[in-house]
Amino acid sequence: MRQHSIAYRFILLGFACLLLSVSFGLTASLQYLFPHFLNEQFSFRNTRPIHVFLAVSWIFACVIGIIYKYIPDVAGRALYSGKLARVHFALQTLTIFIAVSGFCMGYFSGREYLEFPPWVSSLIIVYWLLFAINFLMTIRPKLASAPVYIWSWCTGLLFFFITIIEAHLWLLPYFNDNIIRDLTVQWKANGSMVGAWNMLIYGTAMYAMEQITGDKKMGHQKISFAFYFLGLTNLMFNWGHHTYIVPANPIVKQVAYIISMTELVLLANILWQWKISYKKSGNTSYPLAYRFFKVADTWILLNLILAIAISVPYINQYTHGTQITVAHAMGATIGINTMLLLASVTFIFEEQLHDAAKKSIGIGLTVMHYSLLIFWVSLLGAGITRAIALYEGNYFAQVSRKIMPYLVGFSASGVVLVVGICLIAFSFIKTISEKQLED
């Protein structure tokens, strides 16, 4: 059991980031409603990056923890080095602390999503190297015969390194002094980095499904690999849908349009197949984890419809630069990423959860799902209203007034969403802490 304690620590770190992130998200949403709320000392330019950075930190810390938990089981041998993993943990925690303190004090690089000063990235690269060493030395992957989730994890790792380096090309004047190149490459890197974390998450989701259903063939099936390769193609080439209106060569747009939006179909299909085989196997020892997968399934479909719509250049022309993009981003990171991560965490701890914890996690999930629905629809409403108001030639102050009712709905449902997240997070934090004490 002790060998898993490092994995549990990462999951706890993830939950801490999640709870902090939603607190700052709420503060940021209040700043929409109350213009003077902390406007000089701690404005939206502080709260937004802290919220987004911590949300991404939640995703990475949790998926890394889950992978640390799974790899000894997958490989059938102990983790290569517990010491390395502990150094990794310390460095990652320190980096999060440094970046957030920097944001509080106003140190920015002004790059979307990687808004901390560039030197912080060198720490990030170092701890990812430690993670990669531990991963590769434990798994020792033989790709030709490896199941698809190992491919997925290896791809996520490789592309994390590629994209974090690419995201810093702006430090060279050749990239920085040409806004078209700078914006295009920045969003190429960001888009593919999201693809990289999706690879890590989908890998863990597929492994959990295989365990739950007991269907060991799944990870080796041709169809799973076909989907994996389509996902990879998306990761590499679909990022251009972020930059449709940036006047780069039109080919960038065409490539993105063609490739876009197949990735979610892929996962929906995989989950669908899993559900069928789950029904067949009649296995019900993980009912709670199964519910998380089912909710993720719904969000995959909702986001798929939205994503396809806003990837059509004609529609994108109006929706781009509005809260519709926020609906897409948070719909995916909460509805899909967070649900799949929570599904895996539930799978890991389901057998140890007390009845009371199971109950509050179940309630938390229901609360999260329905409040997210209102949250998402409010953002869509704000975005559509903003798009129409701008199209009609309104001044920005008028636009802001018109979207206000939707933003009230957004903040209010955000509060409920946070309640749901707290119910789940605190139940797991309690269970994991007790388990750590036992071990």
């Binding site: 700043q31 929409y32 213009p35 406007n39 000089e40 404005s43 939206f44 330019r45 937004r48 990056p49 920015f108 690089s109 002004g110 790059r111 979307e112 808004e115 790709l143 030709a144 491919w151 690419e166 090309l169 990239f175 920085n176 002094d177 040409n178 806004i179 078209i180 190149r181 914006l183 295009t184 490459v185 920045q186 969003w187 190429k188 690999f225 390769f229 990879l232 193609t233 590499m236 080439f237 972020h242 930059t243 209106i245 940036v246 006047p247 780069a248 060569n249 080919i251 960038v252 490539v255 781009h320 630069g321 509005t322 809260q323 993009t325 926020v326 001044y395 920005f396 102050a397 636009v399």
Partner: protein
């Protein structure tokens, strides 16, 4: 073995496409002046993109600024006023006149890339 072949082909395409994107795919005929470069730095260290978008990219609390200095509705004078005084939600950054000029030079450069290319 087939899988290895597929992954190698994909990675090669990716490398080729990336190189093209880094060069011909994103060439731009308008050069950034030294003053505009200064303005870009100010834009970044003050994290303007957390509230504003350029080409629709950034945070959404404030308006898109791609064309703010180059269209009738905005213009340089209006932009300077906003930079020196702040607004209802827009913080006052207490910029000096020179800093405001640099940011305006940068925003004008961005606006020109949009106007010339989309025409």
């Amino acid at each position: 073995m087939k899988k290895i072949a597929v992954i190698i082909s994909l990675l090669s395409f990716y490398a080729g496409y990336s190189s093209w994107v880094y060069t011909y795919g994103t060439s731009c005929s308008i050069a950034m002046t030294e003053e505009a470069k200064q303005g870009k730095l100010l834009w970044q260290i003050n994290n303007c993109q957390s509230c504003h978008q350029l080409y629709g990219l950034g945070g959404y609390m404030g308006p898109d600024l791609t064309l703010v200095t180059t269209t009738k509705r905005g213009g340089e004078k209006y932009t300077r006023g906003m930079l020196l005084n702040g607004g209802a939600r827009m913080p006052n950054f207490h910029f000096t006149g020179g800093e405001a000029d640099a940011i305006i030079a940068y925003l004008s450069y961005v606006g020109n890339t949009a106007i010339t290319i989309t025409k």
